[in-house]
Structures are given as structure tokens and as C-alpha cells.
């Protein structure tokens, strides 16, 4: 019997080969009568992508872990997300893809409606997926741990807001610095380029209902950050009554969404304050999409799928972007985009699709590199604005959102005046207020903009009003009739438009934590000495004036940059106008 053990041990050793063997680059495959080029694999992919080691690392210890259970409905919904991911992946890799939109969708939907109390083990739910794509599973698991811990931290009643901010940085450091290679980069990535691979969009076209679930999960996972931030436990519960209803009623079943939800669209304050973390989660969600698309691309063999998944993992890893910094664009090197520019006013958001050909811009840069720029291996040139014709339009300036149209992330989304601090300074991120409604969260410049914007929104809304204190916000709930309520006692408001008109709204429209704070502001700004301090009730009942005279609707290079994508999915493109 003893020989059994040695045989097992030796057999085990034999399967831990660090050898990396990659397929020849640029192979082609046919599918649906089309010949498609399979992206070449980078030359020096790291050995860990082929490792069969488990390498599991325990999460950072902290009194906040599992604090999400203080909001039981949110806890269950997050657990349901894990089940949904795993069941869909397992079906995709076990020959049950034909039932994905029917039986499997029903199973997942049933779980989402009766979500489990404890987080299930995804690898137990999707054992075949784990067998086939173990490294990918490690990346998902380890990054999901960081996702969960940051959400736990924001949920924790045991930490005040300042302590949460400090600990959030530590959680991020722990994620990156435990010697685990299987992390996701915090650099902004060009989302348009990542979503233009030969296999891109296959999943959302073939499996629109399950794709809606995936994007619904990602909507919840991204929305919840600003949802939880700087709220009391009671406010968090009220918040989730609204957000959870939206998740279950709308977001899980929205098959018309043009692109996955982005952190900055749903949690702009968090994304501005922690751009690295926001980018990492967006990159993680994009990796999910890329994997979905690869698995749904029948024109590739299993081996080619496996290689493309490894390429996708590598593209999202810090290894692939050593030496790169946010804001730089080094084009495509060895088949991988190093475009780390971010949207103006939002460091936590890579470049979005905007109707011009980002891929062409990047290819142009690569061509220049080959034409003689001495790059020195993987060396980079400095932040390089692209020079192709298409760049008459700055791809970092405007982005497009369904029902909102084109927008500049550095501007107030109600009055289009510049956000306080420009919107992209993590240190001043707290100075802007937000409105959450209809599935989005938008930054606004002043309390009036927040109130009036919420009045225009359909259904309930949550206003998070900045005050003079970086860690105290006045949280206001709006019901579907526009009635405003708050739990915050003693808040005082300034609203005196005659002191400068809307261009100076951030000066004359503010929330304060107390009368003393209001008085201190007036003492520093004597022009408000005659302005009346408003109670919450007085402020909440001021009649909304509609769109401010400063508002200007932005125009992009095309009406709707997702028009062709939506058309390919059989979806109309009449969603591009601002309501």
C-alpha cells in the first residue's frame, strides 16, 4: 500500500510543469463562412499562466469581514451572483450551452430570487470550468475576494468613514502585494479596444438573457460602492431597499444595455477617489465578458479558446503593463493594448467606445513603433497622444450613456459646469454630490443640482450631498413623487441664486452639517451674510426650476457609438437621447 502514496506523489510532481508552450501566432479559423484571424499570443507570456498550482491565499484579516451580513438582502443577492456566474460557466463548458437561455437561465433566476444565506464555493458549482481554466478561476476568485472585502468594509458599522477610507487602501495593497501573480491591473484599459477582439460580443448576441444577468450582477457589484459610502446602517438599509428593487425588477433582465456597467457610471465618487480599484473591477468585469465571448465562439477549437483565455488573463494582469502609468498611451505592443488613458474627469474609467476607431488609432501607434521608434524591447515612449485623423475628436473627453447621451465626466451632469476639483482629483472627490436614480449615479456640482436632477428622474432617487466635512454627507431619499426625506438631523442649507447665477452654483448652493458650519462659511464668505439658513424641510420644498441656463448637451462624433453593435443584436438605437 505504501507504494500507492509514492506513486501519487510522483504523479503529482509530474503535473507541475512550468513549461510554457504557446501556439503559433496569427492563426486563422473559419466559422459561419467567415475567416477570422485568431489574435497572436504574446511572445513572453509568464509561466504562471500554465501553472496547475492551487496557490490559494487567505484574505486580509479585519473586523469588517462579512459585515455585508448586516444588510441581509444585499448579502443574499451577492451570494446569488456567485451562483449565477458559476452555473452559466459550467453549462458553457459541459455541452449544455443550448439550454443556457432556457433551463439554465431559469435555474439561475430561481436562485437569484431565493439567494443563499452563505457565499457558495464557485469552484464546487463549476467543477469542469475549474478543471479547464484553473488559472482564470484563481484570478476571478482572488479579485472577487478584494471586491467582497471592500464591500464588507463599506458595510461595516464598526468603522467610521475615515477609517474605512484608510482600510480600503490597505485592502487594495494586500490584494496586489501577496506574491499572487493572478491579480488584475488597476490601470485604466481601453474598453473599446478590448471589446473589439475577433470574438468580442459573441456571448451577448447568442445568449442575450444570460448576458443580461451577467451585466445585472456587475451593475449590482459596481453600484453598491457609492450606494454604501458614507451612510449610516439605517441609511444603507434604505438605500438597498431601493437599489435591490431596481436590481431585481430591471437590471437583471435588461437585454438592451449596449455595454457592461462601468464603476464610474454607477459609483463615480468611489471611482474618482480610488481609481486603481475601480479600474481593476472594470477590468475584471471586462475579463468576464472576454471569457464569455471566447467560450461562445464556436469557430475556435477548445485549444484555441484556452489560449485566448490565457491571453485575455495576461492582458489584464499587471505583468503585461510593467512600467505603464495611468494617462499614458503606448499603443499596441506584441498584440496587447497599452492605452491607459482615462476619461477626462474620471481617472477610474478607461476609454469607452465613442464612434471613432480606437483600434485604428492604436494600430497607427504600433506602426510608428515598427517604423523606427527605438522602443527597446518593452520600453515605452512617453504619454503619446495619437496622431491619426480620427483624433480630431478627443476620445478621452466624451462618453455616451443610454438615455443620457454624450457627456463629459468632468462636468456636472445637471448644469454641465465643471465639477469641483475637476472631478479627477481623488483628494477632492468628496466635494461633489451625487444623484442615484434609474440605474445610474451621476456627480453634480451643488445641492440644488442634486435636488433638481432627482426631480427629473423617474422613480425613487438617492441624493448624497457633500458638506464641509469630507466624511459627512447628508443623505436624502426621494420617493417616486419627488418627496424628499432625510435621517440627518440638524443639516442646514444655503441656496441663494442671486449671489452669482448658476455658473457659481457650488458657492451659493450647499449643504452643511450644522448651523455652526453654515455660520463659519458665511463668516468666510461675507457676500452671503444676508442669506437665510434653510432647514431641510425648507430646502426640500423649493420648487425645481428645470434645466439650468448653463446646460449644454454635448455632441459626439456619431449619434450613438453602439448603434452597429446594438443592430447586430437586433436592438433598436433610439436610446441615445437625453430624456
Amino acid at each position: 500500500m505504501k507504494y500507492l502514496f509514492f506513486a501519487a506523489a510522483l504523479a503529482g510532481i509530474g503535473f507541475i510543469s512550468p513549461v510554457v508552450a504557446w501556439a503559433a501566432p496569427g492563426t486563422t479559423a473559419t466559422g459561419n463562412n467567415a475567416v477570422r484571424e485568431i489574435p497572436a499570443l504574446p511572445a513572453n507570456m509568464p509561466a504562471w499562466l500554465n501553472s496547475t498550482k492551487n496557490n490559494e491565499i487567505f484574505y486580509k484579516r479585519g473586523a469588517y469581514n462579512f459585515a455585508i451580513t448586516t444588510i441581509p438582502e444585499l448579502n443574499r443577492d451577492m451570494n446569488g451572483v456567485a451562483v449565477g456566474h458559476a452555473l452559466a460557466y459550467e453549462a458553457l463548458v459541459t455541452g449544455r450551452e443550448k439550454s443556457l437561455e432556457t433551463t439554465v437561465w431559469k435555474q439561475i433566476d430561481q436562485v437569484l430570487k431565493n439567494a443563499p444565506r452563505f457565499m457558495p464555493s464557485e469552484k464546487t458549482l463549476s467543477p469542469t470550468f475549474g478543471q479547464k481554466y484553473g488559472v482564470l478561476e484563481l484570478v476571478f476568485d482572488w479579485t472577487h475576494v478584494s471586491h467582497a472585502q471592500t464591500i464588507d468594509l463599506l458595510s461595516s458599522p464598526r468603522f467610521d468613514n475615515a477609517a474605512k477610507d484608510a482600510e480600503t487602501e490597505k485592502v487594495w495593497d494586500y490584494y496586489r502585494n501577496q506574491g499572487a501573480p493572478f491579480t488584475v491591473t488597476g490601470l485604466p484599459m481601453n474598453m473599446a479596444w478590448l471589446d473589439s477582439q475577433p470574438y468580442s460580443q459573441a456571448f451577448r448576441r447568442k445568449y442575450p438573457k444570460v448576458n443580461a444577468l451577467f451585466w445585472g450582477y456587475h451593475w449590482l457589484q459596481t453600484s453598491i460602492y457609492d450606494g454604501l459610502r458614507e451612510k449610516t446602517p439605517a441609511e444603507q438599509k434604505k438605500m438597498y431597499a431601493l437599489l435591490g428593487k431596481r436590481y431585481h425588477d430591471v437590471e437583471l433582465y435588461d437585454t438592451k444595455r449596449p455595454f457592461m456597467p462601468m464603476m464610474a457610471e454607477t459609483s463615480p465618487l468611489f471611482s474618482a477617489k480610488y481609481p486603481d480599484i475601480a479600474n481593476a473591477f472594470d477590468n475584471l468585469h471586462m475579463l468576464h465578458d472576454m471569457v464569455n465571448d471566447i467560450l461562445a465562439s464556436d469557430w475556435m477549437t477548445d485549444k484555441q479558446k484556452s489560449e485566448q483565455i490565457k491571453r485575455a488573463v495576461y492582458m489584464m494582469s499587471p505583468n503585461a503593463h510593467k512600467g505603464c502609468k495611468p494617462g499614458e498611451n503606448h499603443g499596441v505592443i506584441d498584440g496587447i493594448s497599452h492605452d491607459h488613458r482615462f476619461m477626462v474627469g474620471m481617472p477610474g474609467m478607461g476609454i469607452m467606445k465613442n464612434g471613432i476607431n480606437n483600434a485604428a488609432q492604436l494600430a497607427n501607434l504600433e506602426m510608428k513603433r515598427h517604423e523606427g521608434m527605438n522602443m527597446g524591447g518593452m520600453a515605452m515612449h512617453s504619454a503619446a497622444p495619437s496622431t491619426a485623423k480620427a483624433e480630431e475628436f478627443d476620445p478621452t473627453r466624451l462618453m455616451w450613456m443610454p438615455k443620457m447621451g454624450w457627456m463629459d465626466m468632468s462636468q456636472c451632469h445637471h448644469c454641465t459646469m465643471p465639477l469641483t476639483g475637476g472631478g479627477d482629483n481623488p483628494l477632492s472627490a468628496w466635494q461633489n454630490s451625487t444623484v442615484s436614480a434609474e440605474g445610474w449615479t451621476m456627480r453634480v456640482r451643488c445641492a440644488l443640482c442634486a435636488r433638481d436632477m432627482s426631480a427629473e428622474a423617474k422613480g425613487g432617487a438617492i441624493l448624497s450631498l457633500s458638506t464641509e466635512d469630507p466624511h459627512k454627507r447628508v443623505i436624502v431619499f426621494s420617493d417616486d413623487r419627488g418627496n424628499l426625506t432625510t435621517d440627518y438631523k440638524g443639516a442646514v442649507f444655503l441656496e441663494d441664486e442671486e449671489k452669482g447665477g448658476h455658473p457659481k452654483c457650488s458657492q451659493w448652493s450647499q449643504a452643511f452639517t450644522s448651523r455652526a458650519a453654515f455660520d463659519a462659511y458665511v463668516a468666510k464668505n461675507p457676500k452671503f451674510k444676508d442669506s437665510k439658513p434653510l432647514s431641510f424641510e425648507e430646502w426640500a420644498n423649493v420648487e425645481a426650476e428645470g434645466t439650468p441656463d448653463t446646460y449644454e448637451q454635448e455632441k459626439g462624433p456619431v449619434e450613438n457609438p453602439y448603434a452597429a453593435d446594438l443592430k447586430a443584436r437586433g436592438i433598436g438605437t433610439d436610446e441615445g437621447e437625453k430624456p
Binding site: 500500500m1 505504501k2 502514496f5 501519487a8 506523489a9 462579512f66 478543471q131 484553473g134
Partner: protein, 261 residues
């Protein structure tokens, strides 16, 4: 035939000894929690876990007694963990009154070689030393266990454990080396509607302590129930159904609790 406490402990070690594995999840199978087999995976790097168990046991010809186990695990490196444990008991030999015995101190390590893939099972091993701290115990005993885990069916897993126990101070007529083999099976119950319970079952065979006795066959069944985010309750029953001599255990009913921190 009278058995020394050392032999009793050796038998208990052979039955269930000291093994770890992931304590925090009902899917992670761990010897003694509640059956005897391990899965091939270790706990995570830097994870700490504690496991306790207690129950009733009766050996052939002996009185009904109490058996328990306490264990601490620590993931000291990637794919490695350390375990420390004792098995206190209050058991009686045939014709003797029950005696409390703190049991030997078990110190061991477990290593996982690889993750399971489509072509390869997960492999691991564990090595344990049993320091003679128990009543009448002498000599340090060892156990080496090879572990192989493999998906079986849609969600189930098979776990093959091959043991080699070394009794360093055998009495006359006792074997110095006691090989054994266990086949374990784990199956999450309730998928895809509930995700908090796993059924475990085992069948195994091991050499009897006395060289003249035939090999002992044992079976067991149990359940692991997640009771909190990081805690699992387990309940199981196992029995030696054939072979052996006085080292054969009629049954053992055990309830346990595992938590990580």
C-alpha cells in the same frame, strides 16, 4: 489480549488521526470532520482554522466511551499547512474501567501538489508525527498519507487516501507498519437550489494492529453543514464492519465544528 494505551492511540490514529483541510467550507473535506479521509487541498496561505469534535465510541468488547479531538491548522506557505492536535478520550478496554487519556500530540504537515484538471486529479500528501504525550504512550509514531481527489459525476468528488502508519514501539505480536486505504466520496446536496450542505461517505480497509488479525474493513457516512460564513457543523457515524481483533471499533458517532479565522 490486552492493548496498551499506545496501541489504542495507534488504532485511533489509524482510524481517524489528525488531519486538516479547509475548515471553513462544507465542500472542503477534512479527516475527522466527520469521517476519516482528506481531500487533496490544503487550507489557504495564512489561513488559520480550528476544529473540534466529540462523540461516542465503542470498541469490540469494550465499554461505551467518549472520544474527542481538537486541532489547529495554519497555512504557513502556499499549498502547505501545518496541523497540531490532540485526541482526548475516555474509553475503557475490555474488563477495565474507563480512563481519561489526553492522547498523543500530533504534529503534521499537508501539501497539495496540483489543482485538478481535466486530465489530472488533484494530488497531495500529509505526514504526521505522534509525540507520546498520552497515557502510557512511548515512542514517536508516524503516518504518511498520499491523497488523490477527482471529480466524480456532475458535482461529486472521489478521494483516495493511501496510508502508511509506523508504530515505532510495537509490543510483541504487533505490526510495526500498518498500511491502509480509504475511498471517500463527497457530494454537495441540494444543487442548484441550496448550497450549504455536503454528504460524505467512505469505505476503507487497514491492517489490524496484531499481526495475526485480518484486515479491518470500515464504512462511514456523514454530513457537513455550513452554519455561518466561516463555520461548519458536521455529524457522522462510522463502523468497522469486518476483520480485526480488539482494535476493531463497533461504531463511532461524532459531531464537530470547524471555523477559520
Amino acid at each position: 489480549m490486552k492493548l496498551s494505551p499506545l496501541v489504542v492511540l495507534g488504532m485511533l490514529a489509524t482510524l481517524g488521526a489528525i488531519r486538516p483541510a479547509l475548515a471553513v467550507d462544507h465542500d472542503n473535506i477534512d479527516a475527522d470532520r466527520p469521517l476519516d479521509f482528506d481531500d487533496a487541498e490544503t487550507i489557504a496561505f495564512r489561513e488559520r482554522a480550528s476544529e473540534v469534535g466529540a462523540g461516542l465510541a465503542q470498541r469490540r468488547g469494550g465499554k461505551l466511551g467518549l472520544a474527542s479531538d481538537v486541532e489547529y491548522l495554519y497555512g504557513f506557505a502556499k499549498n502547505w499547512h501545518l496541523n497540531l492536535g490532540v485526541h482526548p478520550s475516555l474509553l475503557g478496554q475490555e474488563g477495565q474501567s474507563r480512563q481519561f487519556d489526553v492522547g498523543d500530540l500530533a504534529v503534521g504537515v499537508q501539501h497539495n501538489f496540483n489543482r485538478e484538471t481535466t486530465s489530472t486529479p488533484a494530488f497531495g500528501f500529509r505526514a504526521d508525527a505522534y509525540v507520546p504525550t498520552g497515557r502510557g504512550s512511548r515512542g514517536t509514531d508516524f503516518r504518511l498519507r498520499g491523497i488523490m481527489s477527482r471529480k466524480f459525476g456532475r458535482y461529486g468528488r472521489l478521494h483516495l487516501n493511501a496510508d502508511l502508519n509506523v508504530n515505532n514501539s510495537p509490543n510483541a505480536g504487533e505490526r510495526r507498519t500498518l498500511p491502509g486505504v480509504l475511498v471517500g466520496y463527497s457530494l454537495p446536496l441540494g444543487y442548484p437550489r441550496r448550497f450549504d450542505r455536503t454528504l460524505v461517505a467512505q469505505v476503507g480497509m487497514r491492517a489490524a494492529t496484531m499481526s495475526g488479525d485480518s484486515a479491518i474493513t470500515n464504512i462511514g457516512i456523514g454530513v457537513r453543514q455550513q452554519v455561518a460564513q466561516r463555520s461548519v457543523f458536521d455529524l457522522g457515524i462510522k463502523s468497522d464492519i469486518a476483520g480485526g481483533g480488539n482494535d476493531r471499533e463497533r461504531f463511532r458517532v461524532i459531531a464537530g465544528y470547524s471555523t477559520s479565522f
